[in-house]
Symmetry: C2
Subunit: 247 residues, 2 copies
């Protein structure tokens, strides 16, 4: 499995991903799932992927090839994030079109989805979720984050902490805690964690972290969070079993 997370706020974007893949529990590997296609000064483009690894690798390879061979349409030539989302969705459809029947007949899941975040000069930062069917939606102030992959364990903390107005560095911290909660509850999500923070209108990614297993900061926030959650739990008033609500 995988867990990727994209957040958009008034001041920028956070994109984060774990690195674990598994084909069954006995074949677990590490693959980076966060890819940078930026052109410093002109555009920042960050993509992360979830789902069938052969499909997502084929999409990323094809995106890179279009840039390298200077195709008319590529992530470096398109002039809006919307057009990029459609272009990536079409790549996904084309690759699934080739492979899906072969995967389907052996019961292999061919689903894949992507997050696309970035900013092109002259536009605002945007965040897209591209579904396995190639269609897509964009994040808005009322729904400022998207998750793909193993999304449920890490959602409660986002629901409680994050808003469109959360300072971007706080949003990055929240993303790490969301991934850490997921890793704690599900072994199919694991380090290294890749995290980028993009400040709106800077057109360069200045902050990119890779946190390996045993990384001091990752260990520190996990311990702090455990202690803080236990303290928070202790502060919750005990159940009043003999109130009028007892039946």
């Amino acid at each position: 499995m995988t867990y990727c997370l994209g957040i958009i706020t008034t001041s920028g974007l956070v994109i984060a991903a774990d690195s674990r893949t598994n084909a069954g529990v006995d074949y677990i590997s590490t693959y980076e799932k966060l890819f940078d296609f930026s052109m410093v000064g002109d555009r920042v483009i960050s993509i992360c992927t979830s789902g069938n690894l052969s499909i997502t690798q084929a999409v990323i390879t094809s995106l890179k090839k279009d840039i390298k061979t200077q195709q008319e349409t590529s992530l470096h030539s398109l002039t809006s994030m919307y057009d990029m989302a459609r272009y990536i969705g079409n790549k996904l459809r084309a690759i699934q079109g080739e492979d899906k029947e072969w995967l389907k007949k052996d019961g292999v899941d061919w689903q894949a989805s992507l997050l696309l975040g970035g900013q092109i000069r002259g536009e605002n930062p945007e965040l897209y979720l591209i579904y396995s069917q190639g269609n897509f939606i964009h994040a808005t102030p009322s729904t400022p984050f998207f998750q793909i992959g193993e999304t449920k364990y890490g959602k409660p903390i986002l629901d409680r902490i994050l808003t469109y107005n959360t300072p971007i560095k706080e949003a990055a911290k929240c993303a790490l805690l969301s991934i850490d909660s997921t890793m704690k509850s599900n072994i199919s999500v694991g380090p290294p964690i890749h995290l980028i923070l993009y400040e709106a209108n800077s057109f360069v990614i200045k902050h990119h972290l890779k946190l390996d297993r045993g990384n001091a900061y990752l260990t520190e926030i996990r311990q702090c969070w455990e202690v803080a959650i236990k303290k928070a739990f202790e502060e919750i008033p005990a159940i009043n079993w003999f109130s009028e609500t007892e039946v």
Copy 2:
């Protein structure tokens, strides 16, 4: 969907369930999913259900009927929790055997699972998870809780707080927070919440709460938890973007 939770500790059992069912998003109803089959002084038996409502209702109805008609085998005659789990699993298999083909051909999910918790005089308290296939497992000190239904949102708090040695009233509070986290992140789980607390070797359920929407205590713990989580979040050290981990 549904969320049910069973916890076993050194000092007893906690069983909790929400009450929301849905057949699609436009047909949402309220059904109790926590059922008591105790005989005060002799045995405490609590069952909660998740999955296809027609299947789980049929199982519960059949369990009640066997007691009412004084069948040789019933929840009141069996002499171990293990035998009860097998008996319930067989009920589930029989009912699925009747209905499964009809549901399957229209693409309706026939899956259902149950939690069985209780204690028979002369035995220790036990907690069982009965799978949709009728097989079952029991909880142990190293895995002291089971969840059925919409389980993922509420798992992180259990993973961080609960152990087999958690005092039973703390375990009940933790169960409520786990359900509240799930309700916050997923509209398919909703009140009233039913919660029982059983103290080992008492052979009577002295604590049974029903918390409706807007219940003062439920509102209070939700607010306290939100405040406490935000405070906990603020206490986590900020990301050190310029440490050696930056790439």
